[in-house]
C-alpha cells in the first residue's frame, strides 16, 4: 500500500544523523571549504568512532553484513530497506556538508564495488578493516583522461604475470583516492581490462591496497566545491597485485565483469541523488527560515496568480526537491525489494542532479548580495551541488540511459 512516510523509529534515528550534521559538520563546513586539501582529523576520528554513523557508505551498511549485527540502522524497517535508509541518512549528512560526507572514513564506493562484485570471502577479507583500527577509506577508480562518461572505453590494462596481476594506466577523478591509498590502510578498486578484444566483457575490477608497488597518487584536484573531499589522479605503472585481488571471477563472459561493475551504479546513483537532495534541502531550509524571519509569506492554496515571485520560487524549489526525493527513494526501495532499478536509478539521478543545481542557484539569487557573500554557506551549497549533476554519470548520460530504457534501445541505436 502506497506509503512514503518513514516509521517513527527511523525518523528518530535520522534525528541522530541530523545532530551530527548540524553539530559536527556545519561548524567546520566553511573552514574545510577554505582550507582545501587539509585534513579534518577531529572529524575523521569522530565519524570513525561513531561506528553506526560510519555505516553510511555508498553500498549500504557493510558492517551489518560482516558482523551480522542486527543492531544496525536498517533494523527498524527490516534490513531489506537498507538502500532506502542509506539514502535517508545520506541526505541528512549532506545537509550538513557534502564535502565532509564524501571524506567520511568508510569503505565508500570501493566497498560498494566489493559488495557488488566480490566473493563472500573477498568481502570479509577486504572490508573487515573498516570495522577496526584507525580511520580508513575505500575508493573506486574508473574514469580516465580519454574516457569520461564512457566507462567501456577504459584503457587501463591488467595482465597476468604468474601469481600477480600487473596493472598499467592512469585514473582521474578518483574520490577519496589519496586518503584510501596514501593516508590510510584502505584500498582503491581499479577498473581495468584483461582482454581489450573482449570489449566490455573484458573489464574487471581489482582491489589495490596502500603500498602496492607501482601505484602513485600523482595529483589531487583543486575544485569548485566539495573541497573537503580529495579527488585524486592515480598512476599505475606495472602495479602488481595478487591474483585474488580481482573481484569475482577472472573468466571473461559476455554477461560478466562490466555488468557487475555497472550494477554498482544502480546502487550508487540513488545515493548520489540523495547527496544532491541533502545539499538542496540545506538551501531550502535556510531560505524557508530566512523568509519567515523577514516576514515574506508562503501561502499554500491561494490563487497562483496572487503569489509573489519569491513565494512562487520557494514553492517551486520545495516541490522539485520533493519530486527528486520520491524518485530517489523509489529507486532505492526497488533495490531493497529485489526489483531491477536501472531506469529508476537514472531517473532519480538525472532529476536530483538538475533540480538541486537550480535550487541552490535560486537560493543565492533570492538572498541577493548576502547570497553571493561567503559569510553565508548558501554560495558554498551552490558550488557543492553542481558536482551531483556531473559525477556518477552526468545529467546527459543519465538522460541517455532513461531514454534507452523507455524507447527499448541499446547503446548502438541511441548514443
Amino acid at each position: 500500500m502506497i506509503d512514503f512516510e518513514l516509521e517513527p523509529q527511523v525518523v528518530e534515528r535520522l534525528k541522530m544523523y541530523h545532530m551530527v550534521a548540524e553539530n559536527v559538520m556545519r561548524p567546520i563546513s566553511r573552514e574545510y571549504d577554505e582550507r582545501e586539501h587539509e585534513e579534518p582529523e577531529q572529524f575523521f576520528q569522530t565519524m570513525w568512532q561513531a561506528q553506526s554513523l560510519a555505516d553510511v557508505a555508498p553500498g549500504g551498511d557493510l558492517k551489518g553484513d560482516l558482523k551480522k549485527d542486527g543492531a544496525n540502522a536498517a533494523k527498524p524497517s527490516g534490513p531489506k530497506l537498507r538502500n532506502l535508509l542509506t539514502c535517508a541518512t545520506t541526505e541528512e549528512l549532506c545537509w550538513g556538508d557534502a564535502g565532509l560526507f564524501l571524506s567520511t572514513p568508510n569503505s565508500g564506493l570501493g566497498g560498494a564495488a566489493v559488495m557488488a562484485a566480490g566473493t563472500s570471502e573477498q568481502k570479509s577479507r577486504f572490508l573487515k578493516r573498516f570495522t577496526e583500527g584507525e580511520p580508513k577509506w575505500g575508493a573506486m577508480a574508473i574514469t580516465e583522461a580519454a574516457c569520461g562518461s564512457d566507462s567501456a572505453a577504459i584503457q587501463t590494462t591488467a595482465t597476468r604475470d604468474g601469481d600477480h596481476w600487473v596493472i598499467n594506466g592512469t585514473k582521474i577523478f578518483c574520490t577519496g583516492g589519496q586518503r584510501a591509498v596514501e593516508k590510510s590502510d584502505g584500498f582503491v578498486v581499479v577498473w581495468a581490462t584483461v582482454d581489450k578484444s573482449a570489449g566490455r566483457a573484458g573489464i574487471k575490477s581489482f582491489v589495490v591496497e596502500r603500498g602496492a608497488p607501482g601505484m602513485q597518487v600523482s595529483r589531487v584536484e583543486n575544485k569548485l566545491g566539495i573541497r573537503a573531499s580529495d579527488t585524486a589522479m592515480i598512476i599505475f605503472d606495472n602495479c602488481r597485485v595478487p591474483l585474488d585481488h580481482l573481484l569475482g571471477s577472472a573468466e571473461v563472459r559476455k554477461d560478466g565483469g562490466f555488468k557487475d561493475a555497472m550494477a554498482t551504479f544502480d546502487a550508487t546513483r540513488p545515493i548520489v541523488a540523495a547527496m544532491a537532495i541533502g545539499v538542496g534541502r540545506a538551501a531550502l531550509d535556510f531560505i524557508r527560515e530566512f523568509l519567515r524571519e523577514n516576514h515574506v509569506p508562503v501561502r499554500y492554496g491561494i490563487s497562483p496568480r496572487r503569489l509573489s515571485a519569491i513565494e512562487r520560487d520557494f514553492m517551486d524549489m520545495e516541490v522539485q526537491l520533493k519530486a527528486a526525493r520520491l524518485l530517489t527513494w523509489r529507486a532505492a526501495w526497488m533495490l531493497d525489494t529485489g526489483k531491477r532499478n536501472n531506469l529508476e536509478a537514472s531517473m532519480a539521478k538525472a532529476k536530483a542532479g538538475l533540480v538541486v543545481t537550480q535550487i541552490t542557484q535560486k537560493a543565492v539569487e533570492i538572498l541577493g548580495p548576502l547570497g553571493y557573500s561567503r559569510k553565508l554557506l548558501v554560495e558554498k551549497w551552490m558550488r557543492d551541488a553542481k558536482i551531483n549533476d556531473i559525477f556518477e554519470g552526468t545529467q546527459q548520460i543519465n538522460m541517455l540511459i532513461v531514454a534507452r530504457r523507455v524507447l527499448g534501445y541499446g547503446n548502438k541505436e541511441l548514443n
Binding site: 500500500m1 502506497i2 506509503d3 512514503f4 512516510e5 518513514l6 516509521e7 524497517s77 530497506l81 532506502l84 501561502r299 499554500y300 492554496g301 491561494i302 490563487s303 497562483p304 496568480r305 496572487r306 514553492m315 520545495e318 516541490v319 522539485q320 520533493k322 519530486a323 527528486a324 520520491l326 524518485l327 527513494w329 523509489r330 526501495w333 526497488m334 529508476e344 531517473m347 538525472a350 532529476k351 538522460m399 541517455l400 532513461v402 531514454a403 523507455v406 524507447l407 527499448g408 534501445y409 541505436e413 541511441l414
Partner: protein, 369 residues
C-alpha cells in the same frame, strides 16, 4: 512502512479501468472533441464500472467499497489517459456525492446519495469556480447569508460541468469571516431553485466534449437542510485537497497518453534515414516526459496517502497539483513539437492533449477522489 507498490485490489482496478480507457474511451475521444458530444452509450457503459456507486454505502444502494484517495487518483489517471473530457464527465457525480458521503448529515446522505447509487449514469455536479482571472479557492465571492433558519446564496459561478443535466448542484459559498479556507460552506442546490440561472454552454480551448456552464445565483433561498454537514458544516480545505489530487491525477493521465503516443511515433517516424527517436533532441524530450510523469504521480500519491491517513494535505496537494499542471503542459507541448507538422493537425491526438493540458492550471474543482 515505506511502500511504492499498489495493493492487489488497486492494481486490479488500475488494469481494468486502464484497459477500458484504452479500448473504449480513447477511440471516442477525437469524435467527441470535434462534435462536442459524448455518446450516451459510452457514458452508460462507463457507469457500469460503478465508479460513482462503488464507494457509496450499501444502505443507499452503493457497493460500500472502501474509499481511498490513492485509489481515486489511480482511477482519475486511467480515465484521463483515455480522454480528459470524458473522464471529468463520468466522474462529475462524485463532485456532489463525495462531499456529502464524507461530511454530510445522515439525512443528506440518504436523500442525495440514493439516486446517485442507481444503475446507469446519473448526472450531478458542483459549482466552485468563479469567472475572474485571479479566481482562487481562498477568495470565493459567492456569498451565503443566514436568513433566520434559512440561507440566501448569491454569486456567479463558471466551469460547472453537466450543470444543465444535473438535478442537484453543490454550491460552494463564503458564509462568514475568516482567512484562507475558513468560512466556506457547501449547499445542496436543486437546479430548478428560484434564482438559479444557467448561461449558455461555455466554449473553451480544450475539453470541448465536456459541457460546462456559467451558473448565476441571485438570492437563492435555501433551507437549513441544504447546508452540507448541518451545523458542523464542511472541512473545505480537505475537500479542495481531494479536488486537487483528483485533477492532478488526471494531468498525469494526459501526460502518459502524450508520452506513449510520442514514444511510438518517434520510433516509427524517420528523418535523415533513421527514426527520430534515435536523435538526442527527441530522445531526451521523451526521457524528460517519462521522468515528469513518475515525479508528478509520486507527488500526487504522497498527497493522496496523506488524505487517506486523515490529514488535510493542503500543502502537499497544492504543490503536487501545480507541479502536475505545469508538467502536463510541457509534456503535451513537447509531444506536438516531436510530431512536428503532424502534431499540429487534428489527425493526431496530441494537439487535443495540448489544448486539454493547458486547462490544468486555469481550472479548478472539476474532479475529486
Amino acid at each position: 512502512m515505506i511502500d511504492f507498490d499498489l495493493t492487489e485490489e488497486q492494481q486490479m482496478i488500475r488494469d481494468t479501468v486502464g484497459a477500458f480507457a484504452r479500448e473504449e474511451i480513447r477511440p471516442a475521444a477525437r469524435p467527441a472533441d470535434e462534435s462536442g458530444d459524448i455518446p450516451a452509450a459510452l457514458i452508460a457503459k462507463i457507469a457500469e464500472l460503478g465508479l460513482v456507486r462503488g464507494a457509496l454505502p450499501e444502505s443507499v444502494g452503493g457497493d460500500g467499497a472502501e474509499r481511498s484517495a490513492v485509489t481515486g487518483a489511480i482511477v482519475a489517471e486511467e480515465l484521463a489517459y483515455g480522454d480528459l473530457a470524458i473522464a471529468i464527465h463520468c466522474l462529475a457525480p462524485r463532485l456532489l456525492a463525495y462531499p456529502i458521503l464524507e461530511m454530510g448529515t445522515d439525512a443528506q446522505r440518504a436523500r442525495i446519495l440514493k439516486p446517485l447509487a442507481a444503475s446507469g449514469f446519473v448526472a450531478a455536479t458542483a459549482a466552485l469556480m468563479e469567472p475572474r482571472w485571479d479566481f482562487g479557492l481562498t477568495d470565493l465571492q459567492t456569498s451565503a447569508k443566514r436568513d433566520g433558519a434559512n440561507w440566501i446564496v448569491s454569486g456567479a459561478k463558471c466551469g460547472v460541468p453537466l450543470a444543465a443535466e444535473s438535478e442537484t448542484i453543490l454550491v460552494y459559498a463564503k458564509s462568514g469571516a475568516g482567512e484562507g479556507f475558513t468560512g466556506v460552506e457547501a449547499f445542496i442546490v436543486p437546479r430548478t431553485s428560484a434564482g438559479v440561472t444557467l448561461g449558455d454552454r461555455e466554449k473553451s480551448m480544450g475539453l470541448k466534449a465536456l459541457a460546462t456552464y456559467e451558473v448565476q445565483l441571485k438570492d437563492v433561498k435555501l433551507g437549513a437542510e441544504a447546508r452540507v454537514g448541518g451545523d458542523k458544516g464542511i472541512n473545505y480545505s480537505r475537500l479542495m485537497s481531494e479536488s486537487r489530487v483528483g485533477f492532478g491525477a488526471m494531468a498525469v493521465g494526459v501526460m502518459r497518453a502524450a508520452f506513449e503516443y510520442t514514444r511510438d511515433y518517434a520510433k516509427e517516424r524517420k528523418a535523415f534515414g533513421v527514426p527520430i527517436a534515435t536523435k538526442q533532441a527527441i530522445a531526451f524530450m521523451i526521457a524528460d516526459m517519462a521522468i515528469e510523469i513518475d515525479a508528478a504521480r509520486l507527488l500526487l500519491w504522497e498527497a493522496a496517502a496523506q488524505l487517506d491517513k486523515g490529514a488535510d494535505a493542503l500543502e502537499e496537494s497544492y504543490l503536487a497539483k501545480n507541479y502536475a499542471a505545469a508538467s502536463a503542459l510541457r509534456v503535451a507541448d513537447n509531444a506536438v513539437q516531436a510530431l512536428g507538422g503532424h502534431g499540429y493537425i487534428r489527425e493526431h491526438p496530441v494537439e487535443m492533449w495540448f489544448r486539454n493540458a493547458r486547462g490544468f492550471s486555469a481550472l479548478d474543482g472539476l474532479a475529486t477522489v
